[in-house]
């Protein structure tokens, strides 16, 4: 099996390829997959993601699974590759984490909007929760190329669910680790260490990727400090490419108007202060009453 391009329309900014799996290795609780993806690396940016399909066409699972791009390399011995970090959560990711080198998997990417980079060399703090750290190292490199001092904060439930502590030390000026159970770094949440770190570094931007609760508290902390948070959200997605409307969330635009926007298209990176966090509760997100086209009647 070698990689095969299925769609790559000029100027579309996205390709669909039947990728070849080059490697699949364990990293803590996760699997690190390297995929041969011609045409993808050249056009990808940190914060964008790829959508993989499950199985070979006879699987009962039809919907794509989305993963942050961990790294890309446009050229190499095996050609263009894309790397992702996958947690085996449900049946689809269980199947994807079992892929073996040489097998084929359909990949679409790069998808969504990546992290906006500051035009000035401001200090930045990059916060990753669990596998959410996957896209941050590549981001850190790009920020440092722009002379932004970079701090990385990695948090997880336990040590095995941290991803990239060693890599973080290589690409950041400072690294802080937290775990819920104290099995590595400071016991507690990333939100516990952020205020001090912002104060100490004079950070102008927070970048985050991880669970919704983490992004929400990061956004609140950023607001408290009068700085910007750019957060990569994780909303359940069926297609990843903008055609199913399942991945929406309430986000305000620059005029303050809230719409239910597709996080796969307008996100996954949003400004933390634009997301209507209060709409999220207990795994549900209700449409805010002031959103465009919200149901008229109060139930």
């Amino acid at each position: 099996m070698t990689a095969r391009t299925i769609a790559a329309r000029e100027g579309s900014g996205v390709v669909q390829v039947d990728a070849e799996v080059l490697g699949n290795t364990a990293v803590g609780a996760y699997r690190h997959l390297t995929l041969v993806t011609p045409g993808l690396p050249e056009i990808a940016r940190p914060g964008q993601f790829v959508a993989l399909s499950v199985g070979d066409g006879t699987s009962s699972m039809l919907l794509r699974r989305s993963f942050s791009i961990h790294r890309v390399s446009p050229a190499g011995t095996y050609g263009a590759t894309t790397e992702i970090v996958v947690a085996a959560a449900g049946p689809g990711t269980q199947e994807l984490t079992r892929l073996e080198a040489g097998e084929s998997v359909s990949v679409i990417g790069p998808l969504g909007k990546g992290f906006p980079l500051p035009s000035q060399p401001v200090p930045c703090i990059l916060v990753g929760g669990g596998y959410g750290s996957a896209p941050l190292f590549w981001l850190a490199e790009q920020l440092r190329e722009r002379d932004c001092p970079v701090e990385i904060v990695l948090g997880a439930a336990s040590a095995d669910r941290l991803f990239g502590v060693v890599e973080a030390r290589r690409v950041a000026d400072g690294v802080t680790v937290t775990t819920d159970d104290g099995s590595a770094g400071t016991k507690g949440w990333v939100s516990d260490v952020l205020p001090d770190l912002i104060a100490r570094t004079g950070a102008g931007v927070l970048y985050g990727c991880g669970p919704m609760g983490m992004l929400r508290s990061m956004s609140a902390i950023a607001s408290d400090h009068g700085i910007v948070a750019q957060v990569a959200v994780e909303e359940a997605m069926a297609c990843g490419v903008g055609i199913c409307m399942t991945c929406v969330m309430p986000v305000a635009d620059q005029h303050g108007t809230t719409k239910m926007v597709r996080s796969c298209l307008e996100g996954p990176v949003f400004r933390g202060d634009r997301v209507r966090w209060e709409a999220f509760d207990d795994g549900l997100c209700r449409v805010p009453a002031d959103a465009v086209g919200a149901p008229k009647e109060v139930r």
Binding site: R9, Q16, R64, C239, M245, V287
Partner: protein, 326 residues
């Protein structure tokens, strides 16, 4: 459509109630947004037609989330007809579809029968009306005037919608009624909408389903119920087309073209619907798996038809009725 097409020249064109389409392949309403996103993968102007997301008169936020649940060989959705409203639809979406030369089937929806008519009027009077190949009337949506009962589940409501919309639609522009499978007698509903003036039928919309979140032990969807789609329901779609085409062939109801939709993922799935009586094919959920599916399925279908020795798609439409010996 591409270099992979078979050498054989099958005439894949379709006569959709007077409108000629170069091939039978369409997107399914709500499964391709309004075109731009899918156009990154395939040239949607090459499709037989592009079917838009059902549009209502005013902007609609749709439901909260979760709006979808994966199910075996299918999915549930409760998008709730999210859309920008017909004005913005015309100015932004229809204008763009017009600009790229797509043949557009505009899917319209409403909470009342008169809302359908308003939406239809706005579309057909818009400056981009020349791009419109047909109007698809999505009567599989809830009727606020009737306790939210879906129009398509009630013959009287279906009749009223089609009658009002027909008054807005100019001669020569086909009006397709999109039916729900969630009825005791789909032939009866088909009969009703054809009598009310529908020029063709699109079958089927999703069937109602529920998934339970087994960790939280509550409905997975914020709306509890959702529409089931995907290959799982294909046998229901083929059955609906089979029954309605059978009734047409037996002269029990008026004859009209049928657009088959429901669970098409591969060319052979499309061939099932065609052989059961469909003239054209829509690809919905399968596009979430493969956004090139509407185009790919068309290629596969053409190859299958050529391999079976036919030279025209129309020769295959409904052929299973001829070959069936009860």
């Amino acid at each position: 459509m591409t270099a992979l097409s078979p050498p054989s020249a099958v005439d894949m064109s379709v006569d959709l109630a007077g409108v000629r389409l170069p091939n039978p392949m369409m997107t399914a309403s709500g499964c391709a947004a309004n075109g731009r996103e899918m156009h990154r993968f395939i040239d949607i102007a090459q499709l037989g037609a592009f079917v838009t997301k059902s549009v209502k008169a005013q902007p609609v936020s749709g439901r909260g989330t979760p709006r979808m649940a994966e199910t075996p060989s299918g999915m549930l959705n409760s998008i709730g007809l999210q859309g920008p409203g017909v004005q913005a639809f015309v100015e932004e979406d229809l204008a763009w579809l017009h600009s790229i030369g797509a043949r557009v089937v505009v899917s319209i929806a409403g909470s009342t029968a008169s809302e359908f008519a308003t939406v239809a009027r706005t579309i057909v009077r818009s400056r981009y009306a020349s791009a419109v190949a047909a109007i698809e009337v999505n009567i599989s949506c809830p009727n606020v005037a009737n306790r939210g009962l879906v129009f398509a589940c009630d013959p009287a409501s279906s009749h009223k919608v089609m009658t009002l919309v027909r008054e807005e639609v100019p001669r020569g522009l086909p009006m397709l009624a999109k039916l729900s499978p969630d009825v005791t007698d789909i032939v009866g509903i088909a009969d009703t909408v054809l009598k009310a003036g529908a020029h063709g039928l699109t079958m089927i919309n999703t069937t109602l389903g529920v998934a339970i979140d087994v960790d939280r032990l509550r409905p997975h969807l914020v709306a509890a119920t959702g529409g089931l789609s995907g290959p799982a329901i294909r046998p229901m779609a083929v059955r609906a087309v089979w029954q309605v085409a059978g009734a047409m062939r037996a002269g029990r109801i008026k004859t009209a073209p049928i657009v088959g939709v429901g669970g098409v993922r591969h060319g052979r799935d499309a061939l099932e619907l065609i052989a059961a009586g469909a003239s054209a094919i829509q690809v919905g959920t399968a596009a979430f798996n493969d956004p090139t599916a509407p185009e790919r399925v068309g290629r596969e279908l053409e190859t299958l038809i050529a391999e079976r020795g036919f030279t025209r798609l129309s020769e295959v439409t409904g052929i299973a009725h001829e070959r069936f010996v009860p």
